[in-house]
Amino acid sequence: MTASALDISNATVVYGGRTVLSVAELSLFAGEILAIVGPNGAGKSTLLRLLALLEKPVIGEVRFGSQPVRWEAASLLALRRRMGTVFQSPLLCNTTVYRNIALGLKFRGLPKPEIGQRVGRWAERFGIGHLLSQPAKSLSGGEAQRVSLARAFALSPEILLLDEPFSALDQPTREGLLGELEGVLRESKITAVFVTHERNEALHFGDRVAVVMGGRLAQVDSPERVFSTPVGEEVARFVGVENILRGIVLEQRDGIGVVSLDSGKIQVATEAQAGERVLVCLRPEEIVLARPDASFAAESMRNVLRGTVDQVTQIGAQLRVRMNTGVPLTALITKQSWQELSLAEGQPVQAAFKASAAHVIRRREN
């Protein structure tokens, strides 16, 4: 295991008597990009401020390079100067672009020639070299956020903390900047934390993903695992598992359980025992559609549900097909496949999925 750059243990942050964040354990490993994802108001930004040492927990500990952080001015300042932060709004000072990028370097008392050299290099890297003498006020949203990024990178931070840096930008600008940022992050191998409420950005960016829900860490895992095997219904819904079926395990043998749904029985891969209540998560792309008269050749397609097509909507190159099979089910299918099936709204349809395609969440009794 790689060394930890930052660790949080049993930390709680309270605002006005209300606990807004409670983290049992979170480690940021040196060199990794940790994506913090969650719905608005979940506590993501608070977690980032905690990591940035801008928020003191009422209880608990933060360790920087395995040394416990002492919350007193001089040592906080020294540690903060080893990090860089970028917030959702660019938060530029009312002066030129050059002076904005130079700000953190000036705080560190670097000699002028070095400041100039670093500002120049990072301004070029983020494509704002021609704007250095411009007042920051005159910049567009995208340009301003480039200044904010250059300002953080110019500090050569050991840890870079990014709090939804692109969420206020329009789609094309955001996508462009995401690509550039990813390039810089990968090439500098910097340890970074990237907060976002966009699950796709998290998937795209994170070496690991931390899902924050209701002020707690719901799951910290590789992006693949967070998206394929979410730990709870909330996480599943957030990461875009659209089909979440409630049921009770009737029997289980060799890792395959028979689950009773309202509308029938299905077989899924699970270790849950008979009598346990479970949530069966199915990603829309795991569901295969067929005409009502077709038979499924592949033996692994253990589950075939019959129903009718409710609604078809286009999403990019794909179609989202909502069906009623006794329980509502959503599938994603390419346009071409849909045309080959020649199905339409209101017509009968078959939906099939493999036992191994489902991710089963065992529900705690309550």
Partner: protein
């Protein structure tokens, strides 16, 4: 009408000729009010920045006190400073009553809440997230404070103008604690009152014109800096 006209012409000559008495009064006014403003900036800006940025119990009460202070009647301040500096008063031994220093003290008391109050407002107008951003960029407490003041420089210049404006035009306190002593504590406002009472309208008008001109020039300069700053 002739009175005004005659007064204006006389005033013009007094200024052009550089009447020594007029000059002395003008410089004393500038010196005393300038110094009082400077002191109020030195004390009021850090205090205002602290109150504007920090959260502490009793903050609302302190703010109410400062806001009240912004509208302090100069005569009340004059009375208070007089009592303090009176021969038998708590600071009587200093023998400061009827001295330029006494006027500076009184004017400082008048300008201090104005500067403090306007600094508080200026600090509160800054996006609170900017503070976090500056700390995140590695600003020490002093660097943070200086950068925030720089950010609020337009509002801060307004504080300077308001502070200076409040004391250069004030008369009650200067009269009471200065005593309007010729060649020693006579300032533009107290001299104007005296000359008007004596019927020397030419002198009074000359002094008024100078007072207006000073106030205008200083505010003009500060406004120019302010607007130059805002366009950058």
């Amino acid at each position: 009408m002739e009175l005004i006209w005659h007064g204006l012409i006389q005033a013009f000559w007094l200024i052009i000729a550089g009447d020594p008495e007029v000059m002395r009064i003008t410089f004393l006014s500038l010196k005393v009010s300038g110094f009082a403003t400077l002191l109020s900036l030195v004390a009021g800006i850090p205090l205002g920045a602290f109150i504007g940025l920090a959260r502490f119990p009793g903050r609302g009460f302190v703010l109410s006190l400062i806001n009240t202070g912004m509208a302090l009647p100069p005569v009340v301040v004059g009375l208070f400073v007089s009592i303090m500096l009176w021969r038998s008063g708590p600071f009587g031994v200093l023998q400061l009553l009827y001295s330029p220093t006494a006027i500076v003290i009184a004017q400082f008391i008048l300008a201090f809440p104005v500067v403090t109050g306007l600094t508080v407002t200026a600090m509160q107008q800054i996006d609170p997230k900017l503070r976090l951003q500056l700390l995140g960029l590695g600003a020490s407490r002093t660097q943070l404070l200086l950068q925030l003041l720089k950010e609020a420089r337009l509002a801060m210049l307004a504080a300077v103008m308001a502070g200076f404006g409040a004391v250069i035009s004030e008369i009650g306190a200067s009269m009471m604690v200065g005593g309007n002593i010729l060649g020693y504590t006579r300032v533009l406002t107290t001299a104007t009152v005296l000359e008007t009472a004596k019927g020397n309208f030419d002198m009074a008008i000359a002094l008024s014109i100078i007072l207006l001109a000073i106030t205008f020039l200083i505010n003009w300069g500060l406004t120019a800096i302010q607007q130059y700053g805002s366009s950058r």
